[in-house]
């Protein structure tokens, strides 16, 4: 186990997140059983009051996830110093089997928390609270996921052994010990480019279709969810290469470093934000079977669709510009 301040902070963040979520799950079960807006029963009034608490708690969880992601990546990156063969975050995450699963679970948790907040916001706009049951059903799915994310991350840190000198032996660490894989392999550049701009184009097109005819919001959400893995694959396949100007350096994390002007933040913030919004909207639309929700969607969704679309467009523009101005040539003319 590596004991250091950022790791303690990450573990504390997980503990507090679960502290917020577990009571919320108990409450969610109660809502699914007893929620009845037409009743004037004392229990119903209590439930209605408590939704404010849960909404705020989930807002805090989301805020925490938003800050945990960069902290996790930077901490893991810094730890590469203490592990033989690791050069950056990729090496550390590869040091045992739990590293990458921990990261993926984190990202998934972030998206679901964001989607929940989108539902919550749309729900609060209608007097009949039409999305309440759906919202709390989703919450019941989020809580075990948060538990899994916390457990996997803990396992990752507990099994991480720094390769340091002990006073008794001068054994060479890399001799005979397998050193970690420090690199990521990427797809070929051209198919990745075609896939990226194709998917982003489709997302934007469905967004426009929705804004014009108020149809196809579910499709927009689905494509947003698809756009994320494609975008990450594209970053690994060619965007990173163009930024580093190095034909073999595929790391999606080094983009977040100072050497490259923190360009990773400019790429990932709009991408993550847009994906989260799209996912929430798609979920809300898929659940919109009642008239109340349709109306709420018609009021609240367009602006969110525009915001999400702008995020994807920004990501597309930025990747294109980075590829354009790079001195590296990947594609022959």
């Amino acid at each position: 186990m590596m004991v250091q301040a950022p790791i303690l902070a990450l573990i504390l963040a997980d503990v507090l997140t679960l502290l917020l979520l577990v009571p919320a799950a108990v409450f969610a079960a109660e809502v699914l059983r007893h929620w009845d807006l037409s009743s004037g029963h004392a229990r119903q009034l209590r439930l209605e009051k408590r939704t404010f608490l849960i909404g705020t708690a989930l807002g805090l969880v989301f805020l925490a996830q938003l800050a945990v992601l960069p902290l996790f990546v930077h901490t893991v990156d810094r730890m590469a110093l203490q592990i033989v063969g690791a050069m950056c975050a990729v090496g550390t995450l590869n040091a045992n089997a739990w590293g990458f699963p921990a990261l993926w679970l984190r990202i998934l948790l972030f998206f679901l928390a964001a989607a929940w907040l989108v539902l919550h916001r749309l729900d609060g706009r209608a007097p009949s609270y039409p999305l309440t049951r759906a919202k709390y059903a989703l919450l019941l799915a989020i809580v075990p996921l948060a538990g899994a994310a916390a457990a996997v991350q803990l396992a990752f840190f507990l099994r991480l052994e720094p390769d340091v000198i002990t006073s008794c032996c001068g054994s060479l660490f890399s001799q005979g010990a397998e050193s970690v894989t420090a690199h990521m392999a990427g797809l070929p550049a051209l198919p990745a480019m075609v896939a990226l701009y194709g998917v982003l184009g489709l997302v934007l097109a469905t967004g426009v279709v929705y804004l014009r005819w108020r149809r196809g919001l579910v499709l927009f959400g689905g494509l947003s969810a698809l756009a994320f893995p494609v975008a990450i694959a594209a970053v690994v396949a060619f965007v990173s290469l163009y930024v580093y100007e190095h034909p073999l350096h595929h790391c999606p994390f080094c983009l977040l470093k100072r050497e490259y002007g923190y360009v990773g933040y400019a790429l990932y913030l709009p991408l993550f934000g847009a994906t989260a919004l799209g996912l929430g909207l798609g979920l809300a639309a898929a659940l919109a079977r009642r008239d109340g929700v349709q109306q709420v969607l018609a009021q609240g969704a367009p602006r969110l669709v525009v915001t999400a679309g702008a995020g994807f467009a920004l990501f597309a523009a930025l990747t294109a510009w980075l590829s354009w101005q790079s001195n590296l040539i990947l594609l022959g003319y």
Binding site: V3, A5, L16, L19, L20, T56, H74, P162, V164
Partner: protein, 380 residues
């Protein structure tokens, strides 16, 4: 008014109102701010100090040789014979093998250890010495004075001080005493063909590992130590020490969370009336909740700014007098050095999760409870 302008303006009015409300309860909020800021200050000091020490260690080791070879006998470090030096010069990838002479000497007069060294890059006259700044302070010596030491056979050896090393590089050279090779051998009784260890210069970092393996093959009784290994170890040690300082503070963190909970849930009669009136004139539960959240956010922001600023000054301005004894280890002749300011996003995020996030979680329930009180409950 457009919807967007409405949202922004609304938040601004809420923030305005919150600031005014907080100013009315100045004493209570100042007390909380002091405790909160103090908490941030202590944790931030530990974090800043750790990373600054790591930074210094990295700078120091940047100058160190890539590989140091020691001879081991029965698991103990022993002097290395001249034949070993010859055996290593032929290894491909090694640009230079440099036999080194260094050791420690306990000085009963100031009750401290010196590091004695034969400098590889300057020729000293036998009988003269160059000393480090901390040593000069301890013995009250300056250039031109005489210092004498009792050698391994009890004979006194006197040195005339040639120069005092500059302050700039003090972390490495504070307790240093540079002497000529002849004097060093006489002082410690080391025969002519023996050295303390060998420093290998390997220009290509990718070959270091292979060279070290070849050293082991050529000299099975030796122990190669790589610079990277030392750096890794330093890094881990400083991390471990900072966590060791942080862990006892977790009790303080818990106390702080309880205090925050208490502060937030202890609604005075005044406040309850205020919330009741707000509700009566048409404020929604969510408005009151937002106002209360604004309150928490403002206190957190202020405490965070105050705490980190004070910690920055404490660590980089004053060299962390409150932490130094625990964190940097212990030595009589410790250098006093200025740390290079290093503040990173990682530290600030870590601080956020160790202070602000627990505060927000602790105050959540009391804040909500205040927001959902019905006006008729408090107006009675």
């Amino acid at each position: 008014m457009t919807e967007r302008g409405g949202v922004l303006a609304r938040q601004r009015y809420l923030a305005d109102y919150t600031v005014a409300a907080m100013a009315r309860r100045r004493a209570r909020n100042l007390g909380l701010l002091a405790v909160y800021g103090g908490m941030v200050f202590v944790l931030a000091s530990v974090l800043f100090y750790t990373s600054a020490l790591k930074h210094e260690a990295g700078l120091l080791l940047a100058e160190a040789p890539e590989i140091v070879v020691q001879r081991m006998i029965a698991g103990r470090h022993d002097l290395i014979p001249g034949g070993h030096t010859a055996a290593l010069t032929g290894i491909r990838g090694v640009r230079e093998v440099q036999p080194r002479l260094w050791g420690y000497h306990y000085d009963a007069a100031v009750r401290a250890n010196y590091t004695l060294m034969v400098p590889p890059d300057r020729d000293l006259e036998p009988g003269t010495a160059v000393i480090g700044p901390a040593l000069a302070r301890a013995r009250g010596a300056s250039a031109g004075d005489m210092l004498s030491f009792r050698g391994h056979d009890g004979a006194l050896t006197a040195f005339r001080i040639d120069a005092v090393l500059p302050q700039a590089s003090t972390l490495a050279s504070a307790d240093l005493l540079l002497v000529a090779e002849k004097d060093f051998r006489r002082l410690f009784g080391i025969p002519e063909d023996r050295h303390t260890d060998l420093a290998l210069h390997v220009p290509n970092p990718r070959e270091v590992q292979t060279v070290a393996e070849k050293v082991l093959e050529a000299l099975p009784d030796s122990r190669p130590i790589l610079r990277d290994e030392i750096l890794r170890t330093y890094d881990a040690v400083f991390d471990w020490r900072s966590a060791l300082v942080l862990l006892p503070l977790s009790g303080a963190l818990l106390a702080f969370a309880i205090l925050a909970w208490e502060k937030a849930s202890g609604l005075s009669a005044d406040e309850r009336r205020e919330i009741g009136i707000l509700k009566a004139i048409g404020w929604e539960t969510s408005d009151v909740l937002q106002m209360k959240l604004w309150e928490g956010a403002l206190i957190s922001l202020l405490a965070f700014l105050l705490g980190t600023t004070a910690a920055y000054w404490h660590v980089f301005g004053l060299s962390a007098p409150l932490l130094a004894p625990v964190m940097q280890g212990w030595s009589v002749l410790y250098p006093d050095f200025r740390l290079t300011p290093t503040v990173s996003a990682t530290q600030l995020l870590t601080l956020f999760f160790l202070t602000v996030f627990p505060y927000l979680v602790a105050t959540l329930v009391p804040v909500w409870r205040a927001a959902v009180t019905d006006p008729d409950e408090v107006m009675r």
